[in-house]
């Protein structure tokens, strides 16, 4: 399954103009704060009404400004986990996860819904959290619940905005392994925005896109960017990952990969 997103959004004086694409293996977005990572993810999710360009996933056109197609977010089948996880603070963990199974797009009868929620919470290792409110969870637990909530609707694509940024180092290591495992065995495209080069290797990314000032400054397989960084930002980004690429256990099990560029690594 392939996807492409060619997006131009203007928000005040900021202009995002980026073109990215990928297959089943995760694609990583890196860039300084304010470079447009979140805007790009939101545009792909369908949250920006005034967006130029074309977004296509698995042969389905999600938006195309030339033909006037613009599917609303609820029809795109895209899972979006924002920075800070975006859990609904007034709903319990179970109700948060069940939320996507009660909407217009994907309604399920009550018993079936409870079963689906129970199953995904168990798979994510958070079944004991079902009755709690989000504020009673740790950062790592919130991230797992947010991921469960996104995955339970079986989205065609997953967008994660800095999934590890708010975690302490130990939780971050756990969560990185957890994410790598789940992204690999779900065999669905994912775009992950991150500030940490270790994520690039751990998630076995097919490609890295560096966004700077709303434009793609460099893109390609991680090894190519690490070996020949085109900008000082990319150079610094990869310099901050001392030897991480040499640890295969961090990368998780081999993932289903379809014709993407050669695997990263030394």
């Amino acid at each position: 399954m392939q996807w492409t997103a060619k997006v131009r959004v203007q928000a005040g004086t900021f202009v995002l103009d980026a073109s990215i694409e990928g297959g089943l293996a995760p694609v990583i977005l890196v860039g300084p704060n304010g470079s447009g990572k979140t805007t790009l993810l939101r545009a792909i999710a369908g949250a920006h009404a005034a967006v130029q360009g074309r977004v296509e996933a698995g042969g389905r056109v999600l938006s195309d400004s030339e033909t006037g197609v613009h599917l609303p977010p609820e029809e795109r089948r895209i899972g979006y986990v924002p920075q800070g996880y975006g859990l609904f603070p007034h709903l319990t963990v179970a109700a948060n996860v069940a939320f996507g199974l009660s909407g217009k797009a994907r309604r399920m009868p009550g018993a079936e819904r409870r079963q689906a929620v129970g199953a995904i919470l168990e798979r994510m290792g958070c079944e004991r959290l079902a009755g709690r409110l989000p504020r009673a969870l740790s950062g790592g637990e919130q991230q797992r619940v947010a991921l469960a909530r996104a995955l339970v609707t079986e989205p065609g694509m997953l967008l994660l905005d800095e999934p590890l940024a708010a975690l302490d180092p130990a939780a971050r290591r756990d969560m990185r392994r957890f994410l790598a495992r789940h992204l690999a065995d779900r065999a669905r495209p994912a775009i992950v925005a991150t500030h940490d080069a270790r994520d690039v290797y751990a998630l076995d990314a097919a490609a890295v896109y560096a966004l700077e000032d709303g434009c793609v400054s460099q893109s390609g397989p991680p090894s190519a960017l690490a070996a020949r960084p085109a900008t000082s930002f990319v150079a610094e980004f990869f310099a901050l990952a001392p030897g991480e690429q040499a640890r295969p256990d961090d990368a998780g099990p081999a993932s289903v990969r379809a014709g993407e560029p050669a695997r990263s690594g030394p």
């Binding site: 800070g84 409110l133 989205p155």
Partner: protein
């Protein structure tokens, strides 16, 4: 300052004995005025919430010149004295008013009717609700609304299941303030709806009328109104704090704009 705020209320409470209060409440003007105030403020609150919520949602979702212009229009009845609002309503909906060519053929005659009381209350009270609701909607995290949509909710479903519950403390605080303002409405009502027993004489007008005949009845009416106001402090302060505790946000956050 605190004393200045509290002393008049204390004086009002100590101005009469229990027996005198009961006598005042038995006065012929008491119950009709109370019942009229209850009916009209209930109707005006329904209109304010039904019309004000979509307006507040619209104001919160956008920014720019148009929103600022709309905000100024919404603020207008707060800064314009009630008597001026009453006169303006007469000029708009009165016998020779701006809308008389439309209203007269339909047989609609607004001034000095109960409908005029409701209309005056809506105009003076709506800004408090709309401002508070817009502030509450602006505080909701945009990401939560996007997530709700990606999880399959329509815009209406997102509003009902995410935006409205999260803004509820602000909506309640705004509605309470707005209700208090409608309940106390005097000037605009007097000019636009008059002071007719049974149809336009609400509690504040009944106090004013009773003061000329029997001070004791006025005090009874005033205490009933003050009691209703005190009850409104509950949704204004306690409920938002309670909800905020439940959701894990600080109570202080909800009070801005409330």
């Amino acid at each position: 300052m605190l004393a200045l705020l509290a002393v008049p209320m204390v004086a009002l409470v100590t101005a009469s004995s229990w027996e005198e209060l009961v006598r005042g409440a038995r006065d012929a003007s008491f119950w009709p005025a109370l019942w009229l105030s209850a009916r009209t403020t209930f109707a005006s609150m329904a209109l304010v919430v039904l019309g004000g919520t979509p307006l507040a949602w619209w104001m919160a979702a956008r920014e720019g010149r148009w929103v600022r212009a709309v905000e100024m229009i919404v603020d207008l009845p707060v800064v314009v004295p009630p008597a001026v609002v009453g006169l303006a309503l007469l000029e708009a909906f009165g016998r020779n008013g701006l809308f008389s060519p439309v209203l007269a053929p339909l047989g609609l005659h607004l001034p000095f009717t109960t409908a005029a009381v409701v209309l005056a209350q809506v105009v003076v009270a709506a800004p408090f609700y709309v401002q508070s609701a817009a502030a509450a909607f602006r505080r909701t995290d945009a990401d939560l609304l996007i997530v709700a949509r990606t999880l399959g909710q329509s815009p209406a479903g997102t509003f009902l299941r995410v935006a409205a519950p999260l803004a509820l403390p602000g909506l309640l605080a705004g509605a309470a303030l707005s209700w208090a303002r409608a309940l106390g409405e005097f000037g605009a009502t007097l000019l636009f709806a008059g002071n007719l027993a049974g149809s336009t004489r609400t509690m504040p007008l009944a106090i004013y009328t009773a003061l000329e005949a029997d001070t004791q009845v006025a005090v009874s009416l005033a205490l009933a109104l003050a009691g209703a106001g005190a009850l409104l402090l509950l949704p204004l302060r306690a409920v938002p704090a309670m909800l905020a505790r439940r959701f894990g946000t600080t109570a202080r956050r909800w009070h801005r704009g409330g």
